[in-house]
């Protein structure tokens, strides 16, 4: 009998479920993982150091509107004559903070909801998942725009709304992983020796759902950057004169023909940021064995 074996050998000899430590290390063993981390670190370094190394203030008018690149403005000027390079260097951390906060918020709420739903089952599970289905019934961007139109267009609302629309998919991932683990015998054992539910969730189940959640976090971070810059681009996120990359693209759009750098440079920065996160997320997913 399983119970007898468990009691005889004690918890120390229990078969340890695949904890998969070193997930990140295995991801970084792949070329794409290393490239991703390298690109990501470069963008982060540039964004963090940016405000100090920028040649001009991001708000000062230093040239003619849509001035092409010259010795003073290396990437030219934007629609109002502000230095494009300085605005890019000052704007990176804004986008990064927004994307990271939105993802972290969604991961926190989604994981808790998913763990509780998957572990409790029954009516609790049904209520939580049906409520989250309502969020999934509307396109993400449309839902974000709804919050913006009710509360107002600013970067805090955009960050919170982005986090909110990501909760259902994370909760689903956490729930599915939890349900797999709850059926395992070591959970039955822990219940049998009288561990409290909260302890069980925190000490036994959470460590075992981190792999799928890490994979999910990578993809959500990728998505959040596209979502945030897209909403800012159509004017309902960060507001002028903030040098946020998505908004900068929108502001200088009319000068695309004479001063393409004011548009192309922020696009390339967003792309580098996403490519870094995307490659790393892909490597993590492969290390976790999600794709072949």
């Amino acid at each position: 009998m399983i119970e007898e074996q468990l009691l005889a050998t004690g918890p120390a000899d229990l078969p340890v479920p695949a904890q998969r430590p070193g997930l990140l290390r295995r991801a970084l063993r792949q070329t794409r993982g290393r490239i991703g981390l390298g690109v990501l670190l470069a963008v982060v370094a540039l964004s963090v150091a940016g405000p100090w190394i920028a040649p001009h203030s991001p708000y000062d008018f230093v040239a003619m509107p849509f001035q092409p690149p010259d010795a003073v403005t290396w990437l030219g000027a934007d629609n109002m004559g502000r230095d494009v390079l300085s605005r890019i260097l000052n704007g990176g951390w804004i986008l990064m903070t927004m994307a990271l906060s939105a993802t972290a918020l969604a991961m926190l709420a989604g994981t808790v909801l998913g763990l509780v739903a998957g572990y409790a089952g029954g009516r609790t599970d049904a209520v939580i998942m049906r409520l989250l289905d309502v969020v999934l019934a509307v396109p993400e961007r449309v839902l974000v725009l709804m919050f913006v139109s009710v509360i107002g267009a600013n970067q805090v609302i955009l960050t919170l709304a982005t986090g909110l629309v990501f909760i259902p998919s994370i909760a689903r991932t956490a729930r599915a992983a939890t349900m797999d683990i709850v059926r395992n015998e070591y959970v039955e054992y822990a219940e049998a020796i009288g561990m409290s539910r909260w302890q069980l969730l925190r000490d036994e189940i959470l460590p075992n759902v981190t792999t799928p959640l890490m994979v999910e976090a990578g993809f959500r971070l990728t998505w959040s950057i596209g979502l945030i810059t897209g909403i800012s681009f159509i004017g309902f996120g960060t507001q002028p004169p903030t040098p946020e990359w998505g908004l900068m693209i929108n502001e200088s759009r009319d000068g695309l023909l004479f001063q393409p750098w004011a548009v192309v440079a922020p696009i390339l920065c967003i792309a580098a940021f996403v490519i870094g996160v995307n490659l790393l997320a892909d490597a993590i997913a492969r290390a976790a064995g999600r794709t072949e």
């Binding site: 794409r32 049906r130 289905d133 309502v134 019934a137 509307v138 396109p139 993400e140 961007r141 449309v142 839902l143 725009l145 709804m146 919050f147 913006v148 139109s149 009710v150 509360i151 990728t222 950057i225 596209g226 810059t229 897209g230 909403i231 681009f233 159509i234 004017g235 309902f236 998505g246 693209i249 759009r253 695309l256 023909l257 393409p260 548009v263 192309v264 696009i267 967003i270 792309a271 996403v274 490519i275 995307n278 490659l279 892909d282 794709t291 072949e292």
Partner: protein, 335 residues
């Protein structure tokens, strides 16, 4: 394979009946979710700090005029009454009147815009799905070849550039920068079907296709690899069936269910993506309508657009479920 009938089948009609029952439950569930969306939208806009009457009349309005309008709009009645009137109106096809400009009926604004957006999304899927199947099958067949790796990195890069940025690059490449082939803004006369203006919609459709391609291609590739590694394909090989026949008769049909599901998801994502893309190309669809309505604080219009987005989502997913059911009888009881 090897999943014979678990229980004896007493009647030949049973699978059909089960499928019908499943479909009815599925439709009922979707309608409930849609009803929940209307409640969420209604409550969200009720929680708004501003007074709708104030928005319509502007900052300078006299208090009596505002009180008058509040009564006319029914804002002083209980919430439940207001909600039921709004939903009842929608069910009768009356979406209320716009708050902006000539106070047109909302339905007259949303209807044509919705048709335009659906044309855009349908064209996007029409091109993206066959292309993804072709690319996915080829990369699965030539796994780990140079072509496979090249496609993998290209698609990864493509999925890394946000939709609006892809759109701007295409504008720079095809309409104003290098070439002068396509218009940068979609000028479609109001009341006309965009289908008859291929040059105007080429760029928005292209952006949608390029955005859906990475996800769909990877999906087709991995389901194809699963199918090619399966026992029934190995069995067919052992029997000496030709590779072409294995591909078209055995492997490809078995990728249908996941691919249909993925295609539905990507079509739904395109619908969401149209919000940004329509703004970029000034395309007269619901996404552009929604942001215009947000700018002019035209809330009945915003609400109607959100609900119609949810309704389209529901229909797309239902169609996908029915197609999956049709493609694979095993799915009848799988859900």
């Amino acid at each position: 394979m090897g999943s014979g009938p678990a229980i004896a089948t007493p009647s030949r009609l049973q699978p059909v009946r089960r499928a019908a029952g499943w479909l009815i439950r599925r439709v009922a569930g979707s309608l409930l979710a849609l009803a929940a969306v209307t409640i969420m939208v209604f409550l969200a806009f009720k929680a708004m700090p501003e007074d709708p009457a104030q928005i319509i009349l502007g900052e300078m309005a006299r208090p009596e005029a505002i009180a008058d309008l509040r009564e006319k709009l029914g804002l002083d009645r209980p919430l439940v009454t207001q909600y039921l009137e709004w939903v009842g109106g929608m069910l009768r096809g009356d979406l209320g009147r716009s708050w902006a400009g000539a106070a047109l009926p909302v339905g007259e604004l949303v209807g044509p815009a919705l048709v335009n957006s659906l044309v855009l999304v349908a064209l996007g899927s029409l091109f993206a799905i066959p292309l993804a199947v072709l690319l996915g099958v080829l990369t699965a067949l030539w796994r780990n070849s140079l072509f496979d790796h090249l496609a993998d990195y290209t698609l990864l890069g493509m999925s890394s550039i946000p939709e609006f940025a892809k759109g701007i690059f295409l504008v720079l490449l095809l309409s104003i920068g290098l070439f002068n082939l396509l218009p940068a803004a979609a000028m479609i006369p109001p009341g006309e079907l965009p289908l008859w203006y291929p040059a105007q919609i080429a760029l928005p459709v292209l952006v949608l296709v390029l955005s859906a391609l990475p996800y769909l291609t990877r999906l087709v590739r991995s389901s194809m690899i699963d199918a090619l590694n399966s026992e029934y394909v190995q069995m067919a090989r052992l029997k000496g069936v030709s590779e072409a026949r294995i591909l078209f008769r055995h492997a490809l049909p078995n990728t249908a269910a996941p691919v249909i599901q993925g295609a539905a998801l990507s079509t739904a994502l395109m619908l969401g993506g149209s919000v940004v893309i329509e703004n970029l190309f000034r395309y007269p669809g619901v996404g552009a309508l929604m942001t215009d309505a947000m700018t002019s604080r035209d809330l009945p219009l915003v609400q109607a657009v959100i609900v119609s987005f949810a309704a389209c989502y529901m229909v797309i997913n239902l169609i996908a479920d029915v197609l999956i059911l049709y493609a694979n009888p095993q799915y009848r009881s799988a859900r």
